[in-house]
Symmetry: C2
Subunit: 439 residues, 2 copies
């Protein structure tokens, strides 16, 4: 788990602000849930492996010594969403579009880019099976990536029923579908031969592997992929999945996702709860993805016992931050940690004059702040050289000096710290002068 | 623990944005620490009562069944700050001014306005003993309260050494100082007679109570209070505390805190770690406070073994939210949860025309979002009446209709939902028309 020092917080905040602003424009609304859930809410929802990674909280008071637990830390944002939908159904709109940006905790062994506390940025649209939902999600995610400065991304798109249809058409026995999907999901990493090898290790007929890999050969326009899928798949669910994909592609054309969407029949995504379209962000030659999502019509109703359609997308905030840092994508404003002006306190031999300098410097700082500037006041009267040195270390743009001479003349000396140049500015014009030069 | 539905999150976000923006203007920088700390970091820091209220996390894996704990949930933001200062000293500026707005967890019995998960808004300036630090903190807090719309607040100000000096001068035995402070702290709630009663119950000479209460009689200008304190207190620490208060009052005069500062010798504040000035926000006739703080020069160095001066202020976010809600202080923008425009999807008997309506509505939504509007697209073609009803329930300002007729004419029908009035607007002018009318 990590401390976020100021420059880290600013960068995170910059990305989160873009995400939030974009989702708001799409009519998604913010939801926040408590860090602690009742332990029964979480156990059994993430498989055996997941269960082991849940942080469990000891009961308090007289029960503390029993070693019993009653609460657990949020493990993802989807189960809490399902609980909220069941608990507050009457207060939520028919189509509940929410985003949620909060930390989750998993007792994983830490590794590069993997932390035990990390933020998830989830967006979900609940209550409709319409493909417009997928289209809007893809458009919102594309807007976010473009605004963050990613130009070389694609949104890989596939459909769970199409994957199943491909396996059926290729003659893979239904009992082996799970194994086959695991192997196919690795196509990117292990290549065609790797997949064939995994198939034979998992006792799937090599002929099926050949037929499937043919269907997965990519790098062609979406229309060509759709045609090839239509020719290959024969079961009704698979065929209706293909038409769902065709609709999503057609409706997305005029949106910001249009040019980024790429049908990719090899996209499987690990999670077993998806029931329809699935999506994943790929960026240039980066391994792994910046996020993904899909339709999962069976999950949200788990606490209410109803069937509630849903489709969502999760952005990998930590990974986005790593890539943006590596690629130097942050604008200077997102990293600017220092003040725009450091107001010094002039030290005079005469304590009364030092006290007057303090008063004047305080008043100047107040004026500059009223003008919207980020201002740090040096907290103590001290040698100017020391205060300039501190201002440079703080990466301030300007240092302002108000000594006895300046006070007498009604002026302020402004020092640009990067160049060392100084100028005298009338007291009443300092704020506007700085603002003009900062732009 | 609570779920925050969209309108709750927006209000919290509104207040947090004001707090953050103001602290940034004062040169404070954001810090975030993990929710989980090593358990040894927290135990023993909050007294016996506090220890019992810490949420402790069970060890994972093979140790799970042992009932042992190794991590605990953040209990406040001060101990994590002290740990960060010790751990990252070399990366932090000499004067480290940080704000931190994060949840903390306490296993208290829930009550009105008291929750087991709640946010703290802490701001602390570390590294200087100068009274300018107190002055800047008071000014920043005053700016925040005014920007949130509080006009009737005072900043009560006192000093721990002055309190001690008063007790010494009144002849209270040093062994009873703690008891006396507890009683004095309640003056607001239990009145003069209550304090006298508590004094006698705690075996403090009634004569001392009389002398003290005389010194606490308030409602006079700060200068008069200072004079009275100077006449009453005799010990050197107490006298230097009075001069410290005099400096804070004088230096604050030209700042936004100037008119709000009120010397109050009865202010004690519970926490024992304060070493200098102490402050507390009082609002009109509200019982309790919206926050408080003070100087605590002994605490921040607890993990590094150094003596590091510090002064801080903590705003009670939950309480501020309760009061602002009760007093109806939120501007409409802070509560606006619905979209500005709901774009409908026209349902035609001819599926091809419905598909065209979907495309046109998607394109319109994209245009309006590019113009910065908050837009929700109805996810499915449906009867218009149903979509209008949904738009009203969502508190949208406008519904936009793009049926076959509108498409043919290159127009959009805009319905203002509050009045039901409709107008036809050329497609290219919709965004500017809405923006103009929203302002």
């Amino acid at each position: 788990m990590r401390d976020f020092l100021p420059v880290d917080v600013r960068r995170r905040q910059f990305v989160i602000d873009v995400v939030r602003r974009t989702y708001e424009r799409y009519g998604f609304e913010p939801l926040e849930t408590p860090a602690l859930e009742n332990i029964e809410t979480l156990t059994g929802k993430y498989g055996d492996e997941g269960n082991k990674l849940i942080f469990k909280v000891l009961r308090r008071g007289e029960h503390e010594s029993s070693g019993e637990t009653d609460l657990a830390l949020r493990y993802d944002l989807t189960v809490p969403l399902a609980r909220v939908v069941a608990e507050h159904r009457g207060r939520l709109p028919k189509f509940f579009k929410r985003y949620q940006i909060q930390p989750v905790w998993r007792a994983d062994r830490p590794a590069r880019g993997r932390f035990r506390e990390f933020y998830q940025c989830d967006v979900d649209a609940i209550g409709s099976t319409s493909p417009l939902v997928e289209v809007e999600l893809c458009a919102a995610v594309s807007d976010i990536l473009r605004e963050l400065g990613f130009e070389d991304f694609t949104l890989r798109l596939n459909h769970r029923a199409v994957l199943t249809g491909l396996l059926i058409a290729a003659g893979v026995d239904e009992s082996r579908h799970g194994d086959a999907l695991v192997a196919i999901d690795k196509l990117d990493k292990i290549g065609r031969e790797g997949v064939v090898r995994e198939f034979s290790e998992r006792q799937i007929a090599p002929a099926a592997a050949d037929r499937l890999l043919e269907a997965f050969t990519a790098a062609e326009p979406n229309a060509a992929t759709l045609d090839r899928l239509r020719a290959f798949v024969t079961d009704p669910e698979g065929l209706s999945g293909i038409e769902n994909l065709a609709q999503i592609v057609a409706l997305s054309a005029p949106t910001s996702a249009g040019s980024a969407l790429r049908l990719d029949p090899s996209l499987a995504r690990g999670l077993s709860y998806y029931t329809g379209a699935i999506m994943e962000i790929a960026v240039g030659d980066l391994p792994g993805s910046l996020g993904g999502g899909g339709r999962y019509d069976g999950l949200i109703g788990m606490f209410s016992g109803e069937s509630i359609p849903a489709c969502g997308f999760s952005l990998g905030l930590e990974r986005i931050l790593v890539v943006m840092t590596d690629r130097n994508m942050f604008p200077s404003v997102a990293s600017a940690s220092g003040p725009q002006v450091l107001v010094t306190i002039f030290e005079d031999r005469d304590p009364a004059r030092t006290a007057e300098a303090e008063r004047q410097s305080l008043a100047l700082a107040a004026d500059l702040r009223r003008a919207g500037l980020r201002v740090e006041l040096y907290p103590e009267a001290d040698k100017l050289g020391k205060q300039f040195k501190y201002a440079s270390a703080r990466e301030a743009v300007y240092a302002a000096v108000l000594g006895g001479d300046e006070i007498a003349r009604g002026e302020v000396t402004l020092k640009r710290l990067s160049t060392g140049s100084q100028e005298s500015v009338p007291r009443s014009e300092v704020a506007s002068r700085i603002r003009a030069q900062l732009n």
